[in-house]
Structures are given as C-alpha cells and as structure tokens.
C-alpha cells in the first residue's frame, strides 16, 4: 500500500466533504443538537453534600487538601469553628456532618487531628472521615504512604441513566448519533458518489482499490474524532476518564465504518443513501440509548452483542466516576469482533466487485 497515494485521496475527500452541503449538515446536526440539549437540560443530579466544621490553626491547608481529596465524589462545604467546643456543637446540632479539629503547629511534627461525627453519620459523612488522614498528611507537606480514594457505588436498583447527569447523557447520545452519521451516511455517501460518477474508476487507474478504501475509512475516523472532540469542547462535557471515553467513541466509529463502506459499495446512489439512510440509523441510536435504560430481558441480550450499545456503555463509564456499567474487556471484544466482521465482508465484496 502506497501511503502517499492514500494521503492524497484522504485530503481530497476531506476537502470535498467541506464543499458538500449534505455532509456538512450530517456533521453539524448532531453537534448542534448536543449544544442545544446541553443548554436546555437542567441537571438535578448533584453531588452529595457534606458540611464539615473545621478548626485549623495552621490556616486552612487541611481544608484545601480535604476538598481536593473529596474530588468529584462529595461536595464539601466548610464551616469555620473557633474551637473544639464550637465544632462539637455544630455536629451535635446536625449543622455539620463532620468536624475536623487539627492539632496546632502541624508542620514538621506528626500530623494529628481529631474527627467528630454524629452517632447516625451518613455514608457521605463517613466517606469524608475516610479522607481525613490523606488530607492531613498532604497538609503536613508529605505524600501519604497509602492513598485513599472514595468512590460511591451505585445501589443495585439504580439504573445507569440515574448515575449520569441528564445533560451529559443527552450529549453522549448525540455523540453516538454523530458516530452513526459519520460511519453510516457520510462515508457511504462519499463512496457511493465516487462509484456513481465514475471517479472511483479514475482513481483506480492511479491507485489500488484498498488504497482508495483505506483513505475513505481514514476520512471517516477523522470526521468522527474531530466531531467528538468539538462536541465535548463546546458542551464542556465533564469526562471523568478521557482515554476510555474517546477510545470507545473511536472504536465505535472504526467498527461501523467498515459497514458504511460496504453500504456505499452495495448502494452506489449517494442521494438514496442521503434520503433514506437516516431511517436505518434510528435503531442504531435508539439501541445505543437503550443501553442506559434497559438492564434485563431479551433486549438486554441484544444490547450485549451490538457494538454501538457496548460503545455507549464504555463511554458512559468514561463519563461518570461511578462507572455505571463497569463494561470491561467483553465490551471491547464485541466492538472488535464487529469491526473484524465488517472489514472482512468489505474485503470480500470489494474483491468480488473487482475494485
């Protein structure tokens, strides 16, 4: 394979896409919808709050470290207490869930603090208590010998959509829509148009069929990657695990692009794909969204074997610290299997069509 030729065709495809109104609409629509939902949906999924009474003669280092350690699992609100008695009163009267009384002259001496909790301390209060040793050590200028990370675990009856902000979930589904549009409409339209107008044949004189198809697949990956990055940037989506989130998004595009190229080869009519292709995408987007709402039954089994629903699960895990699906290697394997299947069928059909 001649990479120079692949690159030349890829650049031509990218330039041509930016001049094709149909493709611009297909790429802009999901991003626009993501921005719209992001702006209009109000979240009520706030972090659990904990009021912490603090006595810190050192000047607030412990409080800052405690807030940092709590991260995105607990929204810590500090109440300055003058002394231990005041802090104890705040806890006793249920105005604060926890009180932290830091020993004076912390630096250079063993870190010490007294922690007060109510008799019926909530799990949120207990998680704050668990973070105090780390915060103390860091405030004393040392790295903790062991690091504690508190992560809330979803209750067994909580559905995944309850663990992700509604706003973020809407944006995620629009990203799935973007990936589906790229793989199942943009790539097939560009491929079909080349076959329809005979330019594919012209390219075949100067390049091999696999080089042309590779360039078209790469163009699809680029539309998808840029589209996801732009959507996340514009909506300021708070991605907990970017590697997992972007990796799953790209894997979904890679697995679908093979089928998109296949569609372009089998239906060499760009306008027909543009007109009717979106109907075929509703199930894709619907089933990806269903991954967040369905947790049993035959539909669950179907979702288990589909690449876009598995990718949606992985992206959901990347979005939330609570890992609503905990989708692991099986999800990746399902996506990889579909990708292999798609490209294998594509190679077979391209060979039979002598492309």
């Amino acid at each position: 394979m001649n990479l120079g030729r692949v690159l030349a065709i890829l650049l031509k495809d990218l330039r041509d896409a930016m001049r094709d109104g149909r493709i611009i609409v297909l790429l802009a629509l999901p991003i626009g919808l993501a921005v719209f939902y992001n702006a209009t949906i109000e979240d009520d999924d706030e972090l659990p709050k904990a009021s912490v009474a603090i006595v810190d003669p050192a000047g607030g280092d412990v409080g800052r470290e405690l807030r940092s350690a709590a991260g995105k699992s607990v929204d810590v609100e500090f109440v300055e207490a003058r002394d231990e008695a005041a802090a104890r009163r705040l806890v006793a009267e249920d105005d604060s869930a926890v009180a932290v009384i830091v020993a004076p002259a912390l630096r250079g001496r063993p870190a010490r603090a007294e922690v007060l909790v109510g008799a019926d301390a909530s799990p949120t209060a207990q998680s704050v208590v668990a973070l105090v040793p780390d915060a103390l050590t860091r405030a004393a200028g040392r790295e903790p010998t062991a690091q504690t990370q508190v992560r809330s675990v979803a209750a067994t009856d909580q559905k995944p959509y309850e663990l992700i902000e509604q706003r973020a979930l809407a944006v995620l589904i629009m990203i799935v829509m973007l990936a589906a549009f790229v793989a199942m409409m943009v790539v097939p339209i560009q491929t079909a148009e080349e076959l329809e107008t005979g330019t594919f044949g012209a390219l075949r004189l100067a390049a091999t069929g696999p080089e042309i198809l590779a360039a078209k697949a790469l163009a699809g990956f680029i539309y998808g990657a840029v589209g996801i990055a732009v959507t996340v940037a514009i909506t300021k989506l708070d991605v907990h695990d970017p590697l997992l989130f972007y990796g799953a998004g790209l894997a979904m595009i890679v697995s679908l692009v093979g089928f998109g190229l296949l569609l372009g080869l089998l239906v060499p009519n760009a306008n027909a794909i543009n007109t009717y292709g979106s109907f075929g995408l509703f199930p894709v987007i619907g089933l990806a969204a269903a991954a967040f709402f369905v947790d049993s039954g035959i539909l669950m089994t179907i979702l288990d074997v589909l690449p876009f629903s598995q990718a949606a699960r992985l992206m959901g895990d990347g979005l939330s610290a609570q890992q609503p699906f905990d989708a692991g290697p099986v999800a990746w394997a399902v996506i990889a299997a579909w990708a292999l299947l798609g490209y294998a069928i594509l190679a077979r059909i391209a060979s039979r069509k002598e492309l």
């Binding site: 030349a8 031509k12 330039r15 107008t197 330019t199 044949g201 004189l205 100067a206 002598e354």
Partner: protein, 296 residues
C-alpha cells in the same frame, strides 16, 4: 522487434452466464492508433477494464507493454491512462485541483497539470469549479488528466461522444500528435468516420469475439468487391444509384454518359459502417436509437 503495446491472447471474461469476452486475440504496436468497434455490450468496455487493470480475465492472457495485467499492473500504472466515456471528474473541485490530485497520485510535478491544461486549451478556466463546465470542456479536462503521466498507451473510450465538431477535431489533433510521439492509442468509438479517419487498424467486436481486424482501407476494399456502386447526378437535378456489377445498370450508365445527361458521377466507396453492418447485421447507430428509447 519492439514489445507490443497491447497483446491479448484468447482472452475470456464471464459474468455468470454472460460471456462478455469470448476468446479475443489482438495486438497493437507502439505508436499505432487502434480502433475497437462494436455494439453496446459487445465487450469493448470489458476489454478496456481488463487492459487497465480494473478487472480480472476469466482465462487467457492480457499484456500491456509486456506486463501481465492486472497481476503486474503496478509496473505499468504510470505508463497507461484512460479517457473514459463518463465525465468522471470531481465536480466540486476546480480543474486545477482535479489535475493536481492525479499529479500527486502519479508522482509527477504539479506543473504537469498546468501544462496539460494548456495543451487542451483550458488554462483560462483552471480555477473554475468543474460543475460549471460544458460537456466539451469536461471531455477536454478528461484528456488533460490522461496526459499527466505522458502515457505510452492511452485508452480512449468513446472520447468524442457528445462533443461539438470543433472540440472533436481538437481531440483528434491531440491524439494524432501523441501517436506521432510514439504513444499507442487504443480507441473505442461508435463514430465510424472517426475510426476511419484516425485509426491505422480497427477490430470489430461482436458478442465478445473479434469478427474482423484489419486496416480500414482493407476492410472497405473487401466489401467493395461484392457490390461496387455509383451515384449519378443528372443535368435535370435528379439522381440515381447504379450497381456496376449489374449488366442492366452498367448499360444504363453508358447510355446516360453517351446522351451527355450526367452532371456528376460519384463512386460509392463502402464505409466502415457498411462493413460493420455486413459483419454484425445492424448499424452502430441502432445502439444510439436503443439508448434514446431506453431514456424515454
């Protein structure tokens, strides 16, 4: 002896039960303009697809410049090119961008694109989007693209279809110059006059088989022996066609000449179209009529 530009031996190509090519053998020499004539579906495009490496033969051998195609296509990719019947250029790109892409693909400097545009007299519209071009301009752009790699073998598939006479004449001139420079031109056309005027040799393809292959003159002479005719225009403006092989017609001609009633006399040379009808049973123009009917 020079390597033949195109050498095809007993070539077959089957699409299921359809035998698109059925034992085709032919050879073209460097610098030759070779015409391939035949009805729609006779196998012309299939043969070009195989020779340009875009289809595999079912059996037989196809060589271009001594290399087996499509197996050794990479060795000749830079030496061949094609002007397709379909105006397969990128409509949303400019003429210049169209050619620059193929300069990159062929690994030739982009200045070749400028030269090629000049060669086909499109320099003034180099920066214009191709979708604004007329059919003739698009066809000239196709030719410019085919000239980029300075091909030793140039395949032309119905290159003048839909062109005005001036554009067709321009294309003929460019093709003739290329052949004089040593390039082999492999031309398929429905236009018998074009084939007669341009080609040193022509082959008639019917039902996937070569039914005749010779120079246009030899093919026409072969038919003339069967029925030489003359068109006689009389002084009163009327005209009549007489067959010299018929004793009655020959006597009538003698009488007309003797009576000084003849204003002009034209010997009716058989055309390539006559040869084709004789060999294939129907005119190539019938294909156009069929196409028009199909469009309606």
């Amino acid at each position: 002896m020079a390597t033949p530009a195109v050498h095809v031996v007993d070539l077959t190509k089957h699409y299921g039960d359809v035998h698109a090519l059925d034992g085709v053998s032919l050879q073209t020499e460097p610098g030759e303009i070779f015409g391939l004539l035949g009805h729609n579906g006779a196998g012309k495009s299939t043969l070009i697809r195989i020779l340009t490496g875009r289809a595999k033969p079912t059996s037989g051998r196809a060589q271009v410049l001594g290399h087996e195609v499509p197996r050794e296509l990479e060795a000749v990719r830079g030496e061949i090119n094609l002007v397709a019947e379909m105006p397969n250029v990128y409509q949303r790109a400019t003429a210049k961008e169209n050619l620059e892409l193929f300069c990159t693909l062929y690994g030739v400097p982009k200045s070749r694109g400028t030269d090629a545009l000049e060669q086909v007299r499109l320099s003034s519209v180099a920066g214009r989007k191709v979708k604004t071009f007329s059919t003739g301009m698009r066809q000239r752009l196709l030719l410019a693209r085919a000239l980029l790699n300075n091909p030793r073998v140039l395949f032309l598939d119905e290159p003048t279809r839909g062109l005005d006479p001036q554009s067709a004449r321009d294309l003929h001139e460019i093709v003739s110059v290329l052949a004089q420079g040593g390039s082999t031109i492999f031309l398929t056309t429905h236009d018998m006059n074009e084939a007669d005027k341009l080609c040193q040799r022509v082959a008639f393809l019917a039902d996937g088989k070569v039914v005749a292959l010779d120079t246009p003159r030899a093919l026409k002479l072969g038919l003339r022996n069967e029925a030489p005719e003359v068109d006689v225009v009389l002084e009163d403006g009327s005209d009549t066609r007489l067959k010299l092989g018929e004793p009655r017609d020959a006597q009538q001609l003698q009488d007309l000449i003797g009576a000084r009633r003849v204003r002009s006399l034209h010997s009716l040379e058989p055309t390539l179209a006559d040869v084709f009808i004789h060999l294939a049973g129907r005119s190539l123009q019938d294909d156009h009529a069929d196409e028009e009917e199909h469009k309606r």
